[in-house]
């Protein structure tokens, strides 16, 4: 009997190892990121000369090879797949997000080269290594379907974020890193306690398995709600929505602009994916997640928009705007229809493009004026009309007005939730719809405050009137799509519609 068991186990293990080595090909992009990370580490240790060029070359080559691998996987995609013993899920949703994350990582590095303190990120090998660690973490977050993997990937992203906030010298940076760390550690601990109860209820960590769903259906409503809300807490923290948003304005103000542009997009979208996968398996009868996420979305929109009105610093304003955008991202999820999922993904992709464009312009402004407060940016648009106009386009797009792609994104999200309301008749959806639209009007005031300061306030004559050619080119490359996709959004929508959201 015992020997029979042992042989069974041995052959099972052999099969499992065989499966794992097949799965390695599915994880080729992640392996590419890890190899880049190791090369960066080795280069940083071995070479002293031409460090900036070498690190930049390795980083961009690594991102390019990751992007190529992902494109290859996307084109040859046949069917959803569980990899690494059901720890991760290989599907089109994660592939699409990983593609735009790779692009986002590259744009973040471009922004780093545009700063007044040129190449500060490339000078220290450590921050490049940690940046790629963050990229690996967000890749894994998009694929996680196991509670252990969700916890680990969220922690990888969190720990890398703490380091990136505080690694460069500065009093404000160290303070922001400490606040970020304390909020992050507490919310991760709360999430972990929730996860431990979910494991206790179901006896499994695999959220896609039938045992998990069966286990949850047998639990009384109150303990289930407490465990699920605690688990959601850690993910909401990464999403930066109310009530776990307190860290974001401080971190955004203090951290380097390139790093902030990555913080404000990649982990948020990755957290949204985890949230999507988690609520996907919860039938509404046991746990009214639409109500809870609806309240979170409403609170984020209202709090983010109204707090942004009083900000004196552009980066801080963008931090509050990103809290509001986290609310808008949730709107598509709450609709809980095929159209809502597509709209959420469209909004996410466009939010990423808009935010990188906005932070590129902030980096250019910082380079010319040495500060990112509204007062110091007076007259910037008059001195540098081209950059000023680009900033206006980005702000209009973030508000969600035509003729920019921000309008399409908001249109899709709100039409999805309106349609969902007409079918499901859930009053939460109506509230989200109405308050969301009203919030867009509020957003208009603070987004247009920047153009007002740039063009209509007389500034000092000291602003240098010369915009470098590279800034011209990058500004055009990042802002032009916002106008182009307003007219050609079908192009992206066709790609998104081909994604199969069925779980």
């Amino acid at each position: 009997m015992i020997s029979l068991l042992q042989t069974n186990n041995a052959s099972g293990l052999k099969d499992q190892l065989g499966n794992l080595s097949e799965d390695v090909w599915m994880l080729a992009p992640e392996i590419s990121v890890v190899i880049t990370l190791l090369l960066l580490l080795g280069f940083d240790l071995l070479f002293r000369k031409n460090k900036e060029t070498g690190l930049a070359a390795i980083a961009f080559c690594g991102l390019a090879s990751t992007f190529t691998l992902l494109t290859f996987q996307w084109v040859n995609f046949s069917t959803d797949f569980m990899v690494m013993g059901k720890l991760l899920r290989y599907d089109q949703l994660s592939l699409f997000l990983k593609l735009i994350f790779t692009l986002g990582g590259a744009l973040g590095l471009v922004i780093a080269t545009r700063n007044e303190n040129r190449n500060y990120l490339f000078r220290s090998g450590e921050s490049m290594v940690v940046l790629f660690g963050l990229l690996l973490g967000v890749f894994l977050m998009t694929m996680s379907v196991n509670l252990l993997m969700i916890y680990l990937s969220v922690e990888v992203v969190s720990i890398c974020s703490y380091i990136l906030t505080g690694i460069l010298k500065g009093k404000k940076k160290s303070e922001a890193a400490l606040k970020y760390l304390l909020f992050g550690a507490v919310s991760a601990a709360v999430m972990l306690y929730g996860i431990s109860w979910l494991y206790g209820f179901t006896g499994t960590l695999d959220i896609t398995s039938q045992a998990f769903i069966n286990g949850l259906s047998e639990v009384p409503a109150l303990p289930l709600a407490i465990a699920l809300i605690m688990t959601l807490g850690g993910i909401i923290f990464k999403l930066g929505a109310v009530p776990f948003h307190i860290w974001s304005p401080d971190v955004y103000e203090a951290a380097p602009t390139a790093v902030v542009s990555i913080f404000s997009t990649l982990p948020k979208l990755a957290a949204l994916t985890i949230l999507f996968r988690l609520v996907n398996i919860l039938p509404a009868e046991w746990f009214d997640w639409q109500l809870i996420l609806g309240v979170i979305a409403l609170a984020s929109m209202i709090f983010g928009n109204f707090s942004a009105l009083w900000q004196k610093d552009v980066k801080r304003m963008l931090a509050y705007s990103s809290i509001a955008h986290a609310g808008f991202l949730l709107v598509g999820l709450i609709a809980w229809t095929e159209a809502g999922n597509t709209a959420m993904l469209f909004y996410g992709a466009m939010y990423l493009v808009m935010n990188f464009a906005a932070f590129l312009l902030v980096a250019i402004m910082e380079k010319h004026t040495g500060s990112s407060t509204f007062e110091d940016l007076r007259g910037f648009g008059t001195a540098l009309p081209f950059a000023g106009v680009l900033a206006v386009v980005v702000m209009v797009s973030l508000t969600g007005l035509p003729p920019t792609v921000g309008f399409n994104a908001k249109l899709y999200v709100f039409s999805a939730i309106w349609e969902a309301y007409q079918v499901q008749n859930n009053p939460v959806l109506l509230w989200v719809f109405v308050v969301g639209l009203l919030n867009t009007v509020v957003a208009l005031f603070y987004y247009l405050k920047l153009p007002y300061y740039l063009f209509f306030k007389a500034g000092p004559e000291t602003i240098s009137k010369k915009l470098s050619a590279t800034d011209h080119i990058w500004g055009t490359i990042m802002v032009f799509p916002l106008l182009l996709w307003f007219f050609q959004s079908e192009w992206l929508m066709d790609i998104l519609n081909s994604i199969n959201f069925v779980f």
Binding site: A177, L178, L182, Y199, G203, P249
Partner: protein, 100 residues
């Protein structure tokens, strides 16, 4: 030992940890509170893992948590040292340059 006792211990430990986090002003004390909360989850995981004899997922999870907690503590203490260099204190009320 019945599993209820372990779960009760975990819940008490979690509440003590949360209380420490919310009331203490010193950054190091807050970190100690976080460690208590993490260990409360570990007790839960190991207790529940007892009913999962085939895969022992709870025990494995607890091992991962211990490792991650160590990594987090290393980063946390490095940041606290850095903050101390600039502010000459680890009192969270006095570390407030960023406002608004």
């Amino acid at each position: 030992m019945p599993v209820e006792h372990l779960l009760f211990l975990g819940a008490v430990l979690f509440c003590i940890g949360l209380f420490v986090v919310l009331t203490r002003k010193n950054a190091i004390a807050v970190l100690i509170g976080v460690e208590l909360m993490l260990n409360a989850s570990n007790i839960n995981l190991v207790a529940f893992g007892h009913f999962d004899p085939d895969f022992l997922q709870g025990q494995i999870f607890a091992l991962f948590v211990i490792t991650v907690a160590a990594a987090e503590a290393a980063v946390a203490l490095a940041i606290v040292v850095k903050v101390y260099q600039y502010f000459q204190t680890a009192d969270l009320d006095k570390i407030s340059e960023l406002k608004g």
